[in-house]
């Protein structure tokens, strides 16, 4: 266990995001998480794709690999398979991870290789100057959708859980209070951890999450879920979620009104993918924290469990397999 502070995880490189970008806050959250969780710089690798978020490895004093658009999970899989001892993180965005790289993300989640994936969702293409992305809400005005986008938006949580994810969590970029802890939950999960971070692109999609993230409304707009605890939220903790068995949907209710008591409120079970899916898709409030965490063997463990990790046979012998014609004297 190293005794490093978050500053030890910063590099000498000038951070080049726009002033006020949500990425600054996430960078700080990551550096804090690494320090708090005792990550060792020499045994930690950050792999990223292309986009604003993907510049992050340059700003972290660990090993880092800034790769190509959408393919970070592929490179990270190679790194982790080649050396399962390494702590491997993937930094991606909604365009990188869910548009051009959707296929890789899907298969990475399905395999459950032990990577920690941070997806910065700002619902827009930032680095290419503001085009709508696969998570943009219908009607998003952008240079490529001047009349408003007409595509349905992808929900990252729904995608991940549908792909067979074993860990899904969500937080807001400015939430320094919970972010480092959540990242360390992701780190300690044995398998692919997928964290969606609602990130504010100050230039091209400013305040798109304001209704969720703004300080004055956050308490009513967010529900922070905890395993084994009732799904309650609100400034005075009187709001809660119950399951409507007729619609199979989560229903926001107020404890003490219409005969609702705490006993009616659903208790969070993070091992239940069906509940996680309902929570992931819930709007008003938006669910934060660890929505899903379930046990499944990590891919690299299964992979190396069925094959030798060291050379056990010399080529000399292999050359002589099958039928041999021996003409030596």
């Amino acid at each position: 266990m190293s005794n490093l502070s978050f500053k030890d995880f910063a590099t000498d490189q000038e951070v080049r995001w726009c002033p006020g970008c949500g990425d600054y806050s996430i960078l700080k959250g990551v550096q804090r998480a690494l320090a708090d969780g005792g990550s060792e710089p020499e045994n930690t690798v950050f792999v990223s794709g292309i986009g604003c978020s993907s510049r992050m490895p340059y700003y972290l004093n660990t090993y880092g690999f800034h790769t190509i658009h959408g393919r970070a999970p592929g490179f990270a899989t190679g790194v982790k398979l080649a050396n399962p001892e390494l702590e491997v993180w993937v930094v991606t965005g909604d365009g990188d991870g869910l548009s051009i790289g959707g296929n890789h993300l899907l298969h990475t989640l399905r395999r459950n290789i032990n990577l920690n994936i941070l997806l910065f969702n700002n619902e827009i293409y930032g680095l290419t100057k503001g085009q709508y992305s696969p998570t943009s809400r219908p009607g998003t005005h952008s240079p490529t959708s001047p009349q408003g986008s007409v595509e349905a938006a992808l929900q990252p949580g729904q995608f991940a859980i549908g792909a067979g994810a074993t860990f899904f969590a969500r937080c807001v970029d400015i939430d320094q209070k919970t972010m480092p802890g959540l990242f360390n939950e992701a780190k300690t999960h044995n398998g692919t951890s997928f964290v969606e971070i609602l990130q504010n692109c100050i230039v091209y999609n400013k305040d798109v999450f304001d209704d969720i993230a703004a300080k004055k409304t956050a308490a009513e707009a967010q529900i922070h879920v905890r395993h084994g605890e009732p799904l309650i939220y609100g400034k005075d903790r009187t709001r809660g979620l119950r399951l409507n068995p007729q619609t199979i949907a989560l229903e926001p209710v107020v404890i003490g009104q219409d005969g609702i008591s705490l006993d009616d409120i659903l208790v969070h079970d993070e091992t239940n993918p069906t509940l996680a899916l309902l929570l992931a898709n819930l709007q008003g409030p938006t669910a934060m924290g660890v929505l899903l965490r379930r046990e499944q063997p990590a891919f690299e463990t299964s992979y190396w469990g069925i094959r030798p990790s060291q050379r056990r046979q010399k080529v000399e012998q292999l050359l002589r397999t099958g039928n041999l014609l021996d003409r030596r004297n």
Binding site: V47, N83, R328
Partner: protein
Amino acid sequence: MFETTASKNSHVIRFAGDSGDGIQLQGQQFTVASAMSGHDLATLPDFPAEIRAPTGTRYGVSAFQIQFGGDHITTPGDTPDVLIAFNPAALVVNLANLSPQTLVIVDANAFTDQRIKRADLTSNPLTDGTMDAYQVVDINITDLTVEAVKPHGLGTKDAGRCKNFWALGLILWMFDQSRSQTQNWIQDKFANNEKIREANLAALNAGNAYAENTEFPQVLKQPTTLQASLAAVEYRTITGAESLALGLVAAGELADTQLMFCSYPITPASSLLHHLVGLEDAGVATYQAEDEIAAICAAIGSSYAGKLGVTSSSGPGVALKTEALGLAVATELPLVLVNSQRAGPSTGMPTKTEQSDLYQAVYGRNGDTPLPVVAARSPADCFDTAIEAVRIAVRHMTPVILLTDGYIANASELWPIPDISGYPEILTTKPKADAEQGVFERDPATFARLWAAPGNPRFIHRVGGIEKDASTGNISYDADNHQAMTDIRTSKVASVAQFIPDQTIEQGVSGGVAVVAWGSTFGSISRAVKECLDEGLQVGHVHIRHILPFPENLGQLLAGFDHILVPELNTGQLATLLRDKLNLNLTQYNKVTGQPLIVSEVKTAIAKLAPKRAQAVGDSRE
């Protein structure tokens, strides 16, 4: 037993039938038998892309051709001496390649009205005069097979499927080859299925006995085949895919490095993945990724983490890998990409061979993104070419493309097993314990940076596809630095030429025509040049393994010839490269039929240009 006294240097046999008839297996078993009886050989599997094409159709015909015999068998032969056809379609599609009087053995049971129609024929070729020019032996192979396996209780359909072994038994007798290797193979393969095992053995033996006891042995029994004069070493048969797989693991051992082979299925490259799956005890781990892109990305990730990443595909898959290949160049990481070429463009003809991805390998990336390219010339040569590719990749810290093709991958040859202890160690730039070198300090001779994998606190660094500062690796948009980095990348690939052997003349003489070629055309050209030399023509054969960079002396060597002839299975891609790099005047000979070059067409192309030699000089082959 009928005895023959005549002898022949080599024989060419072509087996043909439906793609579900077990033709390839039949050919492979004959290959092993002829090798174990001391013959040199070369084979040509020629099959459709469909796994079980509709029976009896022309496009569903699967064929296997072998030439075996005395010394220097380098091609599967231009024309068969014996054709065995299991149905009308298999007969008619092969007729164009037969010489008059060729011995043709057919399964007479298959020449029913229905199957004649399936082969798009209006009459029976056995009776309508089509076969008048040939020597036809029609045998009720299916009936005789069913009869022979009856005691083993198979249904009629399963019984009929043993006919490939029945026919193999017959052909082994015709060429006086042993059944023992095939018997061993059947025993082993069907160890847990007594019924099938015994039925196949019975079919093999029955075909053999039929030939022995037939009333026309003089027609069937072929002249004795000359044996090859072999060296005092061990030999085995090997396909290109097997040889490449062994070469890769040998290279891993020589470099004291584990390999990660990350791939995605594609014809005709998958066989390499299949063979490596069986070699995981020898320091290679295989990973089947979700697509071609993920495969190369995982290979590059492995290299970054300190194991050597290798990926493999065919042209369409290589196209998908191209962007990642550029990243490997930019980040200066070692990687080997094997391209088993097939006929293109697009999906093209997956099971047919071509050499048309040379441009893709040499020129096919965005930016100034050079990387070394090597090419294998024959199944056995894949072994050394794989070692060479790995050696270059880790010596210079660069991705390397290894070109092979569908023909080499599937074809077999007799291989003198090399003494691996005689191969020099492969040196890497992994940091030594006491090294002072920084991650981006480059070796002045190879331009290689340090191969510093995560896990070491001394070398914490970041790499990426954005242009990097030449000395720190940090992002740099500086104008002079981009010039410097581009120069480094160019010089690195150029520096490979300092480490590779000079180009030699394979055989023949300078002064007249140089036949300059690469890849799988080696066998046909080698044979053609030999025959032209025997006929007194002034010709030499130059076969290039190092496509990029060329050996340094290539230009000088070729300056010693009056004419340069470049035969290729494409529209002139090496020719373009020779013009580009060496400004040569040359003559092309190009063919793109999905089939290898045949000897006679190369000879014709040579004869058009080559002068007669003033005086015969003996056979100058090495």
